[in-house]
Assembly symmetry: C2
Homo-oligomer: 299 residues x 2
Amino acid sequence: MSPRLPSLNGLRAFEAAARHLSFTLAADELNVTQTAISHQIKRLEEELGVKLFIRQNRTLALTEQGRDYLPGIRAAFNDLRLATDRLLHRDRDHVLTVSTLASFASKWLLPRLSAFQHAHPHIDVRITTSTALVDFKSGDVDAAIRYGRGQWPGVRADWLTADHLFPVCSPKLLMGDRPLRKPEDLARYTLLQTNASHDDDWRLWLTAAGLPLTISKQPALGFDLIFMTLQAAIDGLGVAVGRTTYVEGDLASGRLVMPFDIRLPADAGFYLVSPEASADTPNLRAFRQWLLTQVPPKA
Amino acid sequence: MSPRLPSLNGLRAFEAAARHLSFTLAADELNVTQTAISHQIKRLEEELGVKLFIRQNRTLALTEQGRDYLPGIRAAFNDLRLATDRLLHRDRDHVLTVSTLASFASKWLLPRLSAFQHAHPHIDVRITTSTALVDFKSGDVDAAIRYGRGQWPGVRADWLTADHLFPVCSPKLLMGDRPLRKPEDLARYTLLQTNASHDDDWRLWLTAAGLPLTISKQPALGFDLIFMTLQAAIDGLGVAVGRTTYVEGDLASGRLVMPFDIRLPADAGFYLVSPEASADTPNLRAFRQWLLTQVPPKA
DNA sequence: TTCAAGGCATGAGTTTATCTCATGCATTGC
DNA sequence: GCAATGCATGAGATAAACTCATGCCTTGAA
């Protein structure tokens, strides 16, 4: 990492000039003279030891290095503008922003969401996906669907559904000359896993089934997102650990099957989480009531 | 958006002071005096009209608003540092980074990639997903799989496969009392579309089929990513426009069917694109040769 | 109780970055 | 040839950034 940043004002001039490809227009935008921009860019180039612009007659072009530099600097200034705008303006409109895990969104919520949208066409539901603990104070998120035990302070948590862990695979793997019948048969198959967000699933299940963690002689195959892991299972690449919520559709349609009757019961589940202070806005109430029609009764 | 950013130097002081929770340590880091930081923070607070710190004896705390503001500002300064470091230092290692569209990654490349990884365990293939025109000069990407006509200057483009456009749906929609038989039957069904990246698909196909763009009486249902759109089609929510590459697996398995025999031929296709200067590194050559074994012969 | 230490604040003054103004240079188009 | 366009240069002006000296308040040790 560079110990010192170059002139921040120079970087601002660079970003504006590169956007416009014009010192004059950049100057207009920043309410300074063209020569101020010229001076700033010149100084920045000297500080960095890198030529950022090709000066042409009537036009300006970025050098290769200027072009490479621009996206990061642009992102930074967008960050600054956005953060400052957010600090100074707190807009609320009738958008309902719900944060969920990407996997829950793709496998459970999104397939159902059209029903809510049909029933409530005036509510603009936006799904944002994140695994982080949601920060309601920023005002960006109205509610979140999170996995856990519901014991979060300062928020209202409504139980939605629980999950179980169990292996799933394509029905194809149950047939043929070497079918997958017993947990011990896993030795011959590829274990499909999801990195990061569900990287404990196989360990949890294998431990519960009393099997060695190194049961498979095949190299494990990892995917970034669980829907990819499950798709690989559907495609017959190997055996994945499913969770009820994520695989119920695929199980119902026969795309996936449970080869063994060992399920890991879960003592946690999915909750709709909302700030106590704003848990009863009309939009959020409607969304919550609809959500509760979509989940099975609590066992 | 805020028309003017506050003092950039002030923001730098804020970020450093918030990180250290100490004006004195921030001053050390920035090689100025404590009072300089004090002045800068005071001025920034005045500019923003927001108190950012709580001054306590011997300690400093962020206000709630200061806490909210910090992540965005921190991200911005990290962007600036990273971009500047990258400009001044250029690293390369032996990872092979391939940029593709997210949809191509999930539907075509990733399901096949394990074969390459088995054959070449010493090559660490990383997939990065982007829709932007790839910039090889930054050094972040070694190759890209892109859709087009292969006429890009300064790069080597190897043909992989072509695509056709056609509607796909669940087999369930072909049955029942009101089956989907003729293109005119689309009037009774929801058109599933992918926003942004493929938002022209229905228009292209309906135009080619000689149907009105407003054929469906149902509201269209949009998704951000094409795999979600296709999953919605698999789930029977409506009819989506598929592309050969994305739906061949689902068609082969019967999850999806083509209800009509109208395909939009494409004169473009997928290419492996690499910089001419580095198109023949051993890693990239191995990847290319393997890729060519995975695609059908060019028709 | 007194003194030292720690750490931010304030105000005056100094330094330096930022900016303006005037002008130059090179091209383009009428 | 002249006007327009647009970046560059240099001197000088302006304003931001910074330093120094000092103040205030708390805490802990002698």
